[in-house]
C-alpha cells in the first residue's frame, strides 16, 4: 500500500494541492485569496493531467524511424493542458477585473462585509 503510494507521489501531490485549493476557496472571505485558491486547484489538476502521460525513462515523442525500441511519453495530456492553462489565465484575468470593480463599489475585499452591505441596501 505505502509502496504504491510512494511510487505515485505525483498523484498524492496533486490531490493534496486540490484539497488545499478547495479549502482556500471555500473558507477564506478575502476575494483575492479565493482567486489564489482557484489557481492552486488549477495547478493541481494540471499536475495530475500531465503526470498521467508520463512514463519513467520515456523520451520526448520525436519519432526516430530506425530506432524502434525507444519508449515515448504520451504527448496528448501536455497538449490538452496547454489549452487548460489558457482557460485558467482568462478566468484569473476576468475575476481580477471583477475584484477591481467590487473594491470600487464596496471599498472592501471581504466577501462577508459585501454581503452585509448588500442586505442593508435592500
Amino acid at each position: 500500500m505505502i509502496e504504491t503510494l510512494l511510487k505515485h507521489t505525483n498523484y498524492l501531490g496533486a490531490i493534496a494541492l486540490f484539497i488545499i485549493g478547495l479549502y482556500t476557496v471555500l473558507t477564506h472571505n478575502n476575494v483575492l485569496k479565493k482567486v489564489i485558491g482557484i489557481n492552486i486547484m488549477e495547478t493541481s489538476v494540471f499536475l495530475f493531467f500531465v503526470s498521467i502521460g508520463m512514463i519513467q525513462f520515456g523520451r520526448a515523442p520525436i519519432i526516430k524511424l530506425n530506432e524502434t525500441d525507444i519508449v515515448y511519453v504520451n504527448p496528448l495530456p501536455s497538449a490538452l493542458i496547454l489549452t487548460g492553462i489558457v482557460v485558467a489565465v482568462s478566468i484569473t484575468a476576468y475575476s481580477l477585473s471583477l475584484i477591481i470593480q467590487l473594491y470600487r463599489e464596496y471599498g472592501t475585499l471581504d466577501l462577508d462585509k459585501m454581503l452585509e452591505s448588500k442586505e442593508e441596501q435592500e
Binding site: 476575494v31 489538476v45 495530475f48 470593480q101 464596496y106 441596501q121
Partner: protein, 491 residues
C-alpha cells in the same frame, strides 16, 4: 448539407468578432444581430430537416480519424435541441432590443451582443461535439460568457453575484477536468464513442478510477446546472442579471449542462455501469430534495425574479429525476421537461422583465391590480405559471404526466408523491401573484383594462412563446416523436 453543423457553430463566432467593427448606431446593430439570428435559425431548421430525412451523421474535422481529431455527432435529438435553442434565443434577443435600452448604457449594446453571440457559439458547440475535451473547452467559454452577461449591468449586486457565480463555476469546471483526467487514465481516448467502447470492456479492472471519474464529473456538472445543494449561486445570479440574460441563463444555459451530463451518463458510461455503481440513487435523492426545497425557498421570496430563480432549482429537480431513472421512458420524460421548462421559464422571466421595464416594480406586494394595466404580459405570466403548477393543456402538465408514468413503470411510487407535493408547493407561491394581479386593486388607481405600455418587440416574443407552450401542451407528440427517434443513440 454536409457542412451545415460547422457553419452553424462558426456563424455566431464570426459575428461576435464582427459586431465591434460595425458602426456604433443601435439600429444598425439590432438589424445586424437579427439578420445573423434569422440566418442561424434557417440553417438549424435545414440541418434538422436533413437529419430527419437522412438520419444522424458524424462530421469529422479536417479529415482526421475520429480517434485523433474532433468529431461532431448530429443525432435527431441534438438537431432538435440546436434548432430549439436558436429559435428560443432569437425570440429572447428580439425581446432584449427594447429591454436592454432600459438596463444598459448605449455604448454597452455592442458588447452585450458580442457576448450573446459567444454564448450561442459555445452552447451550440457543446451540443454538437462528440469529443469530451472539446466539451470542456466550450464549457469554459460558456461559463465565462454567462458570468459576463450578468456583470455587464454596472451595479454592485451584479458584480457580487457574478463573482460568486464565477468562483463556483470555476470549481465546477476544475472538478470536471479532474474527472476527465481519471477517465483518460482508464481509456486513453477523448472521443465519446471510443471511450464508451473501452470502458465497457475494462470497467471491472478499474472500478476506483471510474467511480472517481463519474463522481468528479457529476459534482462539477451538478454545480453548473444547479442541482439542489449546489444551487447557491443561482438565485443571486439569475435575479440580478438583466432580464434577457436571466431568460438565457435560466431557460437555456443550465439545460445545456444537463444535456452534457446525459451524454456522459448514457453515452460514455452506459446505463449498466452507472446503475451498478449506484450513481442513480444519488441523482434521484438529490433531485427530489431539489424539487421540495427549491419550492419551499421560493415561497419566502419577496422579489419576483428571485422567486423565479428558486423555482428553476425545483424544476431542474424534475429533469434530474427523469434522467436519474436510467430507463428510456425516464430519459424521455426528462428531455421533454427540458423543452417545456425552457419555454415556460423564458416566458416567466420575459413577463417579469416587462413588469420591471414598465413599472420599475420588483416586489411581489406591489403587483396588486397589475393584470389590468398589462393584460398581455400577465396572461403570459399566468399561462406559464399554471404550466409550472401542472394545469392540463399546458406543456408543464404533459411533462409531469410523462414523469409520473416513468416513475410508475420503474416502481418508484414514493417519488410520485413527491411530484404531487412539489406541485402543491408550486401552487402556493405562484397563485398569490395571479390572485393579486387580477383580483386585487391598486391603492391609487381603479382597475380598468388598459393596453400594455410596451413596445411591440417585447410583446411579440412573449405571445409566440405562450402560444408554443400551449401548442406543446396540446400536441406533445411534436417533441416526443423526435425524442423517441433519438433514444436508441443513448442506450
Amino acid at each position: 448539407m454536409k457542412q451545415l453543423p460547422v457553419l452553424i457553430v462558426l456563424l455566431p463566432l464570426f459575428s461576435a468578432l464582427m459586431i465591434p467593427l460595425i458602426p456604433k448606431r443601435k439600429n444598425i446593430l439590432f438589424g445586424f444581430v437579427s439578420v445573423i439570428f434569422s440566418t442561424l435559425l434557417i440553417l438549424t431548421i435545414l440541418s434538422y430537416l436533413n437529419v430527419l430525412s437522412y438520419g444522424s451523421f458524424r462530421y469529422v474535422f479536417g479529415n482526421y480519424l475520429a480517434m485523433v481529431g474532433i468529431e461532431f455527432l448530429i443525432d435527431p435529438l441534438i438537431a432538435l435541441l440546436v434548432m430549439f435553442v436558436s429559435g428560443l434565443s432569437f425570440l429572447i434577443v428580439i425581446y432584449s432590443f427594447s429591454d436592454i435600452q432600459h438596463e444598459l448604457k448605449e455604448h454597452q449594446y455592442a458588447y452585450y451582443y458580442s457576448l450573446i453571440m459567444l454564448l450561442m457559439f459555445s452552447m451550440l458547440g457543446m451540443l454538437y461535439t462528440n469529443d469530451i475535451f472539446n466539451t470542456y473547452v466550450f464549457m469554459e467559454i460558456l461559463s465565462i460568457v454567462s458570468t459576463a452577461i450578468i456583470s455587464i449591468k454596472h451595479k454592485r449586486s451584479n458584480f457580487l453575484a457574478s463573482f460568486r457565480y464565477l468562483m463556483l463555476s470555476s470549481i465546477g469546471s476544475l472538478t470536471i477536468l479532474m474527472g476527465l483526467a481519471f477517465l483518460y487514465m482508464v481509456t486513453g481516448q477523448l472521443n465519446m464513442d471510443s471511450m464508451a467502447y473501452v470502458i465497457s470492456n475494462v470497467w471491472t479492472l478499474y472500478p476506483t478510477n471510474l467511480v472517481l471519474a463519474i463522481g468528479f464529473i457529476l459534482i462539477g456538472l451538478a454545480i453548473k446546472s444547479a442541482m439542489f445543494p449546489l444551487h447557491i449561486w443561482l438565485p443571486d445570479a439569475h435575479s440580478s442579471a438583466p432580464s434577457p440574460s436571466s431568460a438565457f441563463l435560466s431557460s437555456i444555459v443550465v439545460k445545456i449542462y444537463i444535456v452534457v451530463l446525459i451524454k456522459v451518463i448514457y453515452r460514455i458510461f452506459g446505463v449498466d455501469i452507472i446503475s451498478s455503481l449506484r450513481i442513480d440513487d444519488f441523482i434521484l435523492v438529490m433531485a427530489s430534495f431539489g424539487m421540495i426545497f427549491g419550492s419551499i425557498f421560493a415561497i419566502g421570496q419577496k422579489d419576483i425574479k428571485r422567486l423565479l430563480a428558486y423555482s428553476s432549482v425545483a424544476q431542474i429537480g424534475y429533469i434530474f429525476l427523469g434522467v436519474g431513472l436510467l430507463t428510456p421512458v425516464g430519459l424521455a420524460a426528462g428531455l421533454f421537461h427540458i423543452f417545456s421548462h425552457a419555454l415556460m421559464k423564458s416566458a416567466l422571466f420575459m413577463s417579469a422583465g416587462s413588469i420591471i421595464y414598465s413599472t420599475n416594480k420588483r416586489k411581489l406586494i406591489d403587483l396588486d391590480g397589475i393584470g389590468f394595466k398589462m393584460p398581455i404580459t400577465l396572461i403570459t405570466f399566468s399561462i406559464a405559471a399554471l404550466g409550472m403548477i401542472g394545469i392540463p393543456g399546458i406543456s408543464g402538465f404533459m411533462s409531469k404526466i410523462y414523469l409520473g408514468l416513468a416513475l410508475i413503470s420503474d416502481k418508484h411510487p414514493l417519488f410520485l408523491s413527491l411530484i404531487l407535493l412539489s406541485s402543491f408547493l408550486n401552487a402556493i407561491y405562484y397563485m398569490p401573484i395571479l390572485i393579486s394581479s387580477f383580483l386585487k386593486e391598486d391603492v391609487l388607481i381603479k382597475n380598468s383594462l388598459q393596453k400594455d405600455p410596451l413596445p411591440l418587440t417585447m410583446i411579440i416574443p412573449m405571445v409566440i412563446i405562450t402560444l408554443s407552450v400551449l401548442l406543446i401542451g396540446l400536441y406533445p407528440q411534436i417533441i416526443m416523436d423526435v425524442i423517441e427517434l433519438a433514444l436508441p443513440y443513448y442506450f
